[in-house]
């Protein structure tokens, strides 16, 4: 039985206990998948799982209130968001059923677009897409193009430590055994630059921000929604003025509010319509948290996150000389 069929069978079996199961379905074209909300057995047939299933579906878990029982299909990275939400009591274990999957990596459609553009082809004209021998095979303008996954895979997948869902009630397929170490080499390389160079980089990037809040809406841990401090008038931390300071301030609030919570799923960056490398900002904080507290968010639902944990004397920050 294929992994997809195994997953479908599991959902069919568990559906009677649940109000809805969130998975992925076919999107508006052959390269896009879209969130699928399964409420009946008939919907299960529409379920898809392949490397184009990029969305972190746990984002939807906090939108149902605490009365409903919800199933969610997760890859390794997505499952860490579920763990984080559980840890922060934003969802409750008995109200959530996790369908875990192994994942070898998802495609970055930006990379696909650029790879096709390099061959003078337009991603919008892709008529069919499939996967064979580690290649993404697309039919575009009458040609069949093979793009090696290694070239079009999302950056986060190349350094993934958690290919398998870290938490699950059902698990389809075989767990993947290898895991990359993730040494934060990308952040370390960025840190090599001078303060002025880094400031100039971010100034250029942030200029493009249109404050559409897509990054925030895609983030599974941004749970304030209508009361987001970034657009609230009471308290009015950030004005609605369209200036670099406000854009920068909003993004810094977003990043610092995620310090020690962000699982680096990269949904903010994927959702950004103007390609601001937001994950770099989040990973910088992730690196700091790892170095200071030896902590990776979203790995243990019972862990007490370091920034919510009051210790008179931190183990790694010796302020008092005790």
């Amino acid at each position: 039985m294929s992994l997809q069929d195994e997953l479908k069978a599991q959902i069919v079996k568990r559906l009677p206990e649940l109000d809805v199961v969130i998975g992925w379905g076919q999107g508006y074209d052959s390269l896009h998948r879209t969130p699928l909300f399964i409420t009946s057995e008939a919907d299960v047939d529409k379920l898809v799982f392949d490397p184009l299933c990029v969305h972190n579906l746990s984002t939807y878990l906090t939108r149902y209130g605490s009365a409903k029982r919800i199933g969610v299909v997760v890859k390794g990275c997505d499952s860490r968001s579920v763990v984080e939400l559980l840890q922060e009591k934003l969802i409750h274990r008995d109200k959530v059923m996790v369908f875990g999957l192994p994942c070898e990596g998802v495609a970055d459609l930006g990379k696909v677009k650029r790879a096709l553009a390099a061959k003078d082809l337009d991603m919008g004209r892709v008529r069919a897409a499939s996967f064979a021998d580690g290649d993404l095979v697309v039919t575009v303008s009458g040609q069949e193009i093979r793009l090696p996954m290694a070239e079009v895979q999302a950056d986060k997948c190349g350094r993934c430590r958690y290919h398998n869902a870290v938490i699950h009630d059902e698990f389809a397929g075989q767990p993947i055994t290898e895991a990359a170490p993730d040494t934060y080499a990308d952040v370390a390389a960025f840190e090599e630059q001078t303060l002025e160079e880094r400031m100039e980089f971010w100034r250029e990037q942030m200029e493009r921000c249109v404050r559409c809040y897509a990054c925030r809406n895609a983030c599974p841990l941004c749970v304030c929604r209508d009361y987001c401090i970034g657009q609230s008038r009471e308290p009015n931390w950030v004005s609605q003025r369209d200036g670099l300071e406000e854009k920068f301030f909003f993004q810094m609030i977003h990043a610092t509010h995620l310090a020690g919570r962000c699982t680096e799923c990269g949904e903010c960056e994927r959702a950004c319509p103007v390609d601001i490398p937001l994950l770099l900002l989040k990973r910088k904080l992730g690196k700091e948290i790892l170095e200071l507290f030896d902590y990776r968010a979203g790995t243990d639902p019972d862990a007490k996150p370091p920034l919510l944990n009051f210790k008179v004397q931190e183990d790694t920050i010796n302020e008092r000389g005790w």
Binding site: E88, K89, E234
Partner: protein, 657 residues
């Protein structure tokens, strides 16, 4: 809103370096300001009346007083505003003294900064809302931490005043450092003869519960309602049945155990009662020395104990005591003098501390009151006392004067002559510090009647030679190098806060300095209070002091507790956190970070929400910075109030730019 601004001259304290008239003039053009005036002393009776009159005549809604720190007069002016019929929280203070006039001499810059601070205070006040206190009842029990002479005095005074007292002592007996002393200055009366009866009073007082061999593990709660978790450390002897007969000590085969009570110059048995007058007079086993614990064999004490009190399996026991106030009287320890390489850094057995010498002088000490030098047990004839070891010495990070060393060194010189009439004492000193009743006369007696040779100067080196300790120093009065061949060298080692005092301070949420001494509420006017309501200080825990001062402070702390407990109800501070239910997502992160346990979970229409218990909240604001959506706000310090201040400050910057 109509705001009145009152700019205080504070005599010349502020007006000397700030143009207060200009500040008041500038305030008139600030938004919402209906009235602004300078005043000579805002806190004086006419000054306060001026504020009240202005509020009433102009129909003001709130007042800004630009004067000193709110720690000084914040509550004064809140009462003033209340007397004028306004809510006391419709008031803001701009600190233009400590933050402006006292720290800068440039009048133009000072005036500009004072105007900025006033502008910020006005902007904040425009956002203020009336707040109302709640009353809560108090638990009239007091905990005293530390059973030295200060703690004993505080315990007895509180207990005599009718309060239930819980006395927690770290070691197995109360008495503290004073119990180790032989005699006391300036009367040379026996220390245990005067302290002993007080210790017995503690044991026998019906209002005092004594927990010896116990330490404070955690402190929860707030003034009037503290919950203190006390760890009663295992003594491996059931103290309910132990009678203190001492049979176990006689038979214990492990006779070479470390004796901390005797400052390690003698040895004791693994099971021991530290000294004959110990309270409680109960035996305890030193695990590290006990053969039973080391090898599993022995068990002699259990065999000889007539009441079968020995319990090798005893565990630490946790108890929770509920009290309304806490007095910290944890005392001092000697600083680690081993940093002094020139005095041998502990390599020479005949260089000892003053406290070790004190045990040698004591009839109940390890030498039975005979002065014997540790190396060969011979009676020393020439004894050199070196003062200021770890006092007034920046080179070892001890800039302060311990204060009592001059006096006890003189006492020890006198006692030395009494013990060994043909002995000679030399005292190397920096200055003689003997202010106090009969104190200077006492040091004079040491010199004039007892012939102690006082040499004003520091010692550069101490080293052994032919069975003597050669002490090389300088006599600054004679302007000459001196060398003394001593049999014994006694170091007057300075005091620091007792070991673990910093950790205790964190639990009590009080401030402490880098030497481990607790910070008083005000160096002059609040010497026994702390900045945490309901926590008081007594004795050397607050700073080095001699016995009379420690006793006086113990009584003073007791008086503070008795006055606190003279009311049945206390008023809560309404500057507490408040939850905006529609914003709260029920993640309860605020509850996790709250150091006071002031936030509980509640259910509103089926959804979890946070709720603040107003009487427990101390208004620290940690929850407000934890809450990402700003759903929990500290009243009187809301995001909007802080933002108003920041914006007011920045708006003046932009105007100037």
């Amino acid at each position: 809103m109509k705001i009145g601004v009152f700019v205080c001259h504070c005599g010349s304290n502020i007006a000397g370096t700030v143009d207060v008239v200009q500040v008041a003039e500038a305030a008139k053009s600030m938004p919402e300001v209906a009235f602004a005036k300078d005043t000579m002393y805002a806190c004086s009776e006419p000054g306060q009346q001026g504020i009240i009159d202005a509020i009433k005549e102009m129909g003001l809604d709130g007042a800004v007083v630009a004067s000193c720190t709110p720690r000084m007069h914040g509550s004064t002016f809140m009462r003033t505003v209340a007397r004028a019929g306004l809510n006391p929280y419709m008031f803001e203070m701009a600190n233009i003294r400590e933050h402006v006039s006292w720290i800068g001499k440039d009048k133009v810059a000072n005036t500009r900064k004072a105007i900025d601070l006033v502008r910020m205070a006005v902007a904040k006040l425009a956002q203020n809302k009336p707040l109302y206190s709640q009353s809560f009842s108090i638990n009239k029990r007091v905990m005293i931490i530390g059973g030295g002479v200060a703690g004993i005095q505080a315990a007895l005074d509180c207990a005599d005043g009718g309060l239930q007292v819980v006395l927690v002592e770290k070691t197995t007996t109360i008495g503290g450092k004073m119990a180790k002393l032989d005699k006391t200055f300036p009367t040379v009366d026996c220390s245990s003869c005067i302290l002993g009866p007080r210790m017995v009073d503690v044991a026998q007082h019906p209002n005092i519960t004594l927990h010896a061999s116990a330490e404070v593990d955690e402190v929860f709660g707030y003034v009037g309602n503290y919950q203190v978790e006390v760890r009663k450390k295992a003594t491996y002897v059931n103290w309910k049945t132990c009678t203190g007969c001492g049979a176990c000590m006689e038979k214990c085969p492990s006779k070479k155990s470390k004796d901390p009570f005797n400052e390690l110059i003698g040895t004791t048995t693994a099971i021991n009662i530290p000294f004959p007058q110990a309270i409680p007079k109960r035996a305890s086993i030193d695990r590290d020395s006990c053969i039973k614990f080391k090898t599993g064999k022995c068990g002699i004490c259990a065999k000889v104990c007539p009441t079968k009190a020995i319990d090798y399996d005893q565990q630490d026991e946790m108890i929770t005591e509920e009290v309304g106030a806490i007095i910290a009287a944890t005392g001092f320890d000697l600083m680690d003098w081993h940093v002094y390489g020139q005095y041998g850094a502990g390599r020479y057995p005949d260089v000892i501390t003053s406290l070790q010498y004190e045990r040698m002088l004591s009839a109940s000490g390890p030498t039975g009151g005979h002065i014997k030098r540790p190396s060969d047990k011979k009676e020393p004839k020439t004894i050199v006392f070196i003062q200021c070891v770890g006092s007034r010495d920046k080179s070892v990070g001890r800039p302060y004067c311990t204060g009592f060393c001059c006096m006890y060194t003189a006492k020890q010189a006198i006692l030395t002559k009494d013990h060994i009439p043909d002995s000679e004492s030399y005292v190397f000193y920096m200055d003689i510090r003997a202010p106090g009743k009969m104190y200077d006369e006492f040091t004079r007696r040491a010199m004039e009647e007892y012939g102690a040779k006082y040499i004003r100067g520091r010692v550069s080196m101490v080293y052994p030679q032919d069975g003597k300790m050669i002490v090389r120093g300088v006599d600054t009065l004679a302007g000459a190098q001196v060398e003394v061949e001593a049999d014994l060298v006694v170091l007057a080692v300075g005091a620091e806060g007792a070991a673990g005092s910093a950790q205790l301070a964190e639990k009590l949420r009080i401030s402490y300095d880098s030497y481990g001494f607790f910070m008083e509420g005000h160096p002059k006017l609040k010497p026994v209070e702390t900045n945490t309501a309901g926590v008081y200080l007594a004795g050397c825990a607050q700073g080095p002091k001699d016995i009379p001062s420690s006793v006086a402070q113990g009584s003073a702390a007791a008086a503070k507790v008795l006055s606190l407990f003279s009311k049945d109800q206390l008023q809560s501070d309404p500057q507490v956190s408040k939850v905006d239910l529609k914003r709260c997502v029920g993640c309860m992160k605020c509850a996790i970070t709250c150091p006071f346990g002031a936030i509980k979970e509640t259910e509103v229409r089926g959804e979890i929400k946070a709720q603040v218990i107003e009487t427990i909240c101390q208004g620290c604001g940690i929850c407000t910075s934890t809450c990402r959506q700003g759903a929990i706000q500290l009243q009187n310090f809301t995001d909007n109030q802080i933002l108003a201040e920041v914006n007011a400050l920045l708006s003046s910057e932009t105007e100037e730019a």
